[in-house]
Amino acid sequence: MRARYVLTEVFLGLWRNVTMTIAMIITMAVSLTMVGASLLMFWQVQDMKEWYYDKIEVSIYLKKDVTDEQRTAIEAAIKEDPLVEHYEYETSEQAYENFKQMFRDAPDMVSAVKPEYMPESFRISLKNPEQYQLAYDRYKDYPGISEIRDQRALVDKIFSILGGMQTVALAIAIGQGVAALLLVVNTIQVAAYSKRREVAVMKLVGASNWFIQAPFVLEAVFAGVIGALIAFGALAAAKAFLLDSGSLEALTDILLTVPWSRVFTTLPFLLGIAAAVNAVTGWVTLRFYVRV
């Protein structure tokens, strides 16, 4: 019976102040969507680092006029090198084949390049791709090397773009989050004011504190939960209509697809964050602002 009383009060309270309730839910939904998006991006970057770092290699391109001794000296050094997981040697012809393969859709480009233009190279996988600088320092002074290139530099650029997007999403999440919390504070103040007579009587006859405060706090929590569900819906829609079959589909080539399981994993996070933050805000408002 008490639970029913509290629930009735919650819905009455939300309905009595319905415009504010809607504003509260919308801002929360936007904020939580951004929280969810940055969460997804964070996980995605972690995954991609693992995936890419596994595959990327350091390429040591040799000069056109490299001598056999120089090549052998370099190969010997690589073989001994504890940093190196494994390596491959690529001749000009192999490089040309790879090039033809890569640009098979652009015959003009292929015909403009001759096998002898392609440099021969050592392709090295490092045990730890982060140790690129060490490897670079070790080989840069060998004669016969024209260039040492780290593919990691390229993927790191992608990661820094993703990181930037994540920062922007977080910034929006925080800005909207602050707005949402201020709305929660205001909503509770209005609700407490509109129920001030009831609250005064309840205190007078000795209703317990939680019984007086629960409806207000639950109003905020309920709005938060709705906001989280909307945010989850937005994320799922973004996956289905933007990434899977929409304008951002091309991105998934480089970014790895975002699996559905991961989108679902955001739901408990969003619900938890929304409920906890709103409950605390509601309680603090009652305790220190309204003194219900």
Partner: protein, 220 residues
């Protein structure tokens, strides 16, 4: 016991010591600002004494932990000059509300509320809203609400302040009847007529000090 409000130049109650027995009927009288209402607030633990103790039913109220206050207040009924009824609830619902919010079931309310409304003389008017009742009737609803939990103590802060003399007398008869059930009644008033008619213990306060305490007293 002393109570000094922050920013006040002198204490509202200055070294006051008074004992009230179970089942007594006590008037606190005195001019406005003498500290009468401070006593009610202290007994309800709406405020705490600056110095000294407030003992109610053997328990120290002044230093009571805040989470124990609700339970404590269930043993006290309270009536005010302005009735403090909920305007959007009927007489029945106003009284039942006091039961519901402390966790009593609707079945208990259905049994107890009509009984207590009958006791205060509102039989047949259960479903009127406060604005459909006269001032005296509204105060009866308030008394019913204060009494429905069978409190040990009934506090009344100028309960007749908004009522005409005849109606005031009726409310006093009601409080007297409640007192006869064993409930201690503490009433703050400056209604000399009533004090003189009732001939109960009178404690007069002036400038925060007790200047008179006599059984079966009259107003100044």
């Amino acid at each position: 016991m002393t109570k000094t409000y922050p920013k006040a130049s002198r204490p509202s109650l200055d070294d006051v010591s008074v004992g009230i027995e179970k089942g007594e009927f006590v008037f606190f009288i005195g001019p406005s600002g003498s500290g009468k209402s401070t006593i009610i607030k202290l007994l309800l633990r709406e405020i705490q004494p600056t110095r000294g103790k407030v003992l109610v039913n053997g328990r120290e109220v002044g230093s009571m932990r805040s989470w124990k206050i609700p339970q404590f207040r269930r043993s006290i009924g309270c009536v005010f000059q302005d009735f403090r009824l909920l305007p959007n609830r009927t007489a029945y619902e106003n009284v039942a509300f006091a039961l519901e919010v402390i966790g009593k079931s609707k079945a208990v309310a259905r049994r107890v509320v009509p009984e207590v409304l009958e006791l205060v003389g509102l039989g047949g008017k259960e479903h009127r809203y406060p604005h459909e009742l006269s001032g005296g009737e509204q105060q009866r609803v308030a008394v019913a609400r204060a009494f429905v939990n069978r409190p040990l103590i009934l506090l009344a802060d100028e309960p007749t302040g908004n009522l005409d003399p005849d109606t005031s007398i009726e409310i006093m008869r009601l409080l007297d009847r409640i007192n006869r059930t064993g409930t201690t009644v503490v009433m703050v008033t400056h209604d000399s007529n009533i004090v003189n008619q009732m001939r109960r213990r009178v404690i007069e306060i002036d400038s925060g000090r007790i200047v008179r305490d006599q059984p079966r007293g009259v107003y100044g």
